[in-house]
């Protein structure tokens, strides 16, 4: 048995001559000790949830039909007729929510530990790209169900895009593939959701992780870390095991959510009846509320400005630091931004 295994190893070595050194180096990269705290593992958690999304999403495409006449029925079939269809769909639904939570918390963590500062500005911007991808994922995915709320959500979003200055008209038509939400729209959303966005996010993630590896993670030292003699632990097995523990805990949460709150299905989309209460998913509450209290153009521009502010924050932060050194203004601005975010979200949730 052992001999056979050795033979196989030797064969692999000759057919795929990658130096063993490489694997050892990649897997045993030293990781700072402070990473044992779970909130420093949020990036890894998000990556794990992304993996779940890829697997369950792939399975769902086996039955989903991206055509207005059949989309809703195919989702209905997945939910109620295909064996374990409800499990796959509910996992996909719930891990999408957890995915977005993990990404947002990851952004917060990076922000408040100042991990976006030189030389990591580019990686912060790539991270922002991933965040936008994730939000678009959520939006397009929800629209695919083709129930009343998803249909009208798509309509509202497309009409909003129309108000982007200069290119709005073009953008909205590009998004819908026509003047109203129709079969072209569904096909587009489908292609975005299962092909273009996965491609984009995979590329961005690869660069994101490569840059982390090249630059190393930010070194932090906490009060209670001092007593440890070693400041670093190997990625494998220490950090890998920790990530697996977190992943298993998430799996536990998902199991609970799937069993007790399985994904349901509203009324099928009806282009002639707008339902009384249209609300987007919770992660758009902030924008939705902002759009409600401002005029359309201002609302769209403001959202764009906020996004730009987020992307270019490392540079803005540097200017602030230069003018007011050592006053932690960035931290306070961050707290204000998060407070606004929370207030708007809760406000929208309560109304």
């Amino acid at each position: 048995m052992k001999k056979r295994l050795d033979q196989l190893k030797a064969w692999l070595k000759t057919s795929a001559p990658i130096p063993e050194e490489f694997f050892r180096k990649v897997s045993s990269e030293p990781v700072p000790h402070h990473l044992k705290r779970w909130w420093f593992c949020l990036g890894g958690t998000a990556a794990y949830l992304f993996l779940i999304q890829v697997i369950t999403g792939l399975l769902l495409t086996f039955y989903y039909v991206p055509e207005p006449g059949h989309a809703y029925d195919s989702v209905y079939r997945i939910t109620y007729e295909i064996p374990f269809g409800w499990v796959i769909r509910s996992i996909h639904k719930w891990s999408s929510h957890l995915f977005i939570i993990a990404v947002i918390l990851h952004v917060f963590r990076v922000f408040f530990t100042g991990a976006y500062r030189k030389p990591r500005e580019l990686n912060w911007m790539i991270g922002c790209g991933i965040l936008f991808c994730v939000l678009t994922f959520g939006f397009t995915g929800y629209s695919l169900i083709y129930e009343q709320l998803s249909y009208w959500g798509a309509t509202v979003a497309a009409n909003l895009t129309q108000n982007v200055p200069l290119i709005g008209e073009y953008l909205a038509r590009f998004m819908r593939g026509g003047d109203t939400v129709e079969e072209n729209t569904l096909t587009r959303f489908f292609i975005f959701h299962i092909a273009l966005l996965p491609l984009a996010i995979t590329i961005l993630l690869t660069i994101h992780i490569t840059l982390i590896r090249l630059l190393g993670v930010t070194e932090l030292r906490f009060e209670d870390d001092r007593e440890h003699s070693t400041s670093h632990v190997p990625f494998f097995p220490n950090h890998f095991l920790r990530e697996t523990i977190i992943a298993s805990c998430i799996a536990l949460v998902i199991t609970f959510l799937v069993v007790f709150f399985p994904a349901g299905l509203g009324l099928p989309a009806d282009p002639f009846v707008t339902p009384a209460h249209i609300k987007p998913e919770w992660y758009f509450y902030f924008t939705f509320r902002w759009l409600k209290i401002s005029s359309l153009t201002v609302g769209v521009l403001g959202t764009g400005a906020a996004a730009a502010l987020l992307v270019f924050w490392p540079f803005i932060d540097r200017k602030i630091e230069k003018h007011f050194p050592g006053k932690d203004i960035s931290i306070w601005l961050g707290i204000i931004a998060i407070a606004t975010l929370l207030v708007f979200t809760v406000w929208e949730a309560l109304v």
Binding site: L59, E81, I82, P83
Partner: protein, 145 residues
């Protein structure tokens, strides 16, 4: 800085835990793969008890009429005054056979198989005859189920 004995204890403990983890992981993977495999096996769409009604006038002597039953293309033929209905799916590799009224036989375009008017294989590679459907002749209609 561990003592040799301690190191030994840690090593055996580690090996034990890793083995446990391996077994549990295998079970978990199985627990996930089972739903995935059943997910990929959709339940059959039940269409039993479907009855197709065809007017006698549509099937003249030596003629045929095509129709679909339970999602399968089928035909009813009038061979010397008696009606018989068959699935058109060739029992060899699933091509659709055609009815040759003049020769009173079915011919498969794929591999040249020939079937008699009662569905039996005359020549060619098919392992068995065409699937026969139940025919009920009413006053001026043929009921096929």
């Amino acid at each position: 800085m561990n003592l040799p004995m301690e190191e030994l204890a840690i090593n055996s403990r580690r090996r034990f835990l890793s083995t446990c983890l391996g077994f549990l992981g295998a079970f978990l993977a199985g627990g996930f793969l089972y739903p995935v495999f059943s997910f990929l096996q959709p339940p059959a769409r039940k269409k039993n008890g479907e009855i197709v009604k065809i007017p006698k006038a549509d099937v003249p002597l030596g003629g045929m009429q095509r129709f679909h039953i339970r999602g399968i293309p089928a035909t009813v033929i009038n061979s010397q005054g008696t009606y018989a209905a068959f699935s058109l799916v060739c029992s060899h590799l699933g091509c659709l056979v055609t009815w040759d009224g003049a020769k009173d036989q079915f011919i498969c375009p794929c591999h040249g198989a020939k079937f008699a008017s009662d569905g039996h294989v005359i020549s060619g590679p098919p392992p068995k005859g065409l699937e026969q459907l139940k025919v009920d002749v009413k006053e001026d209609e043929i009921w096929i189920s």
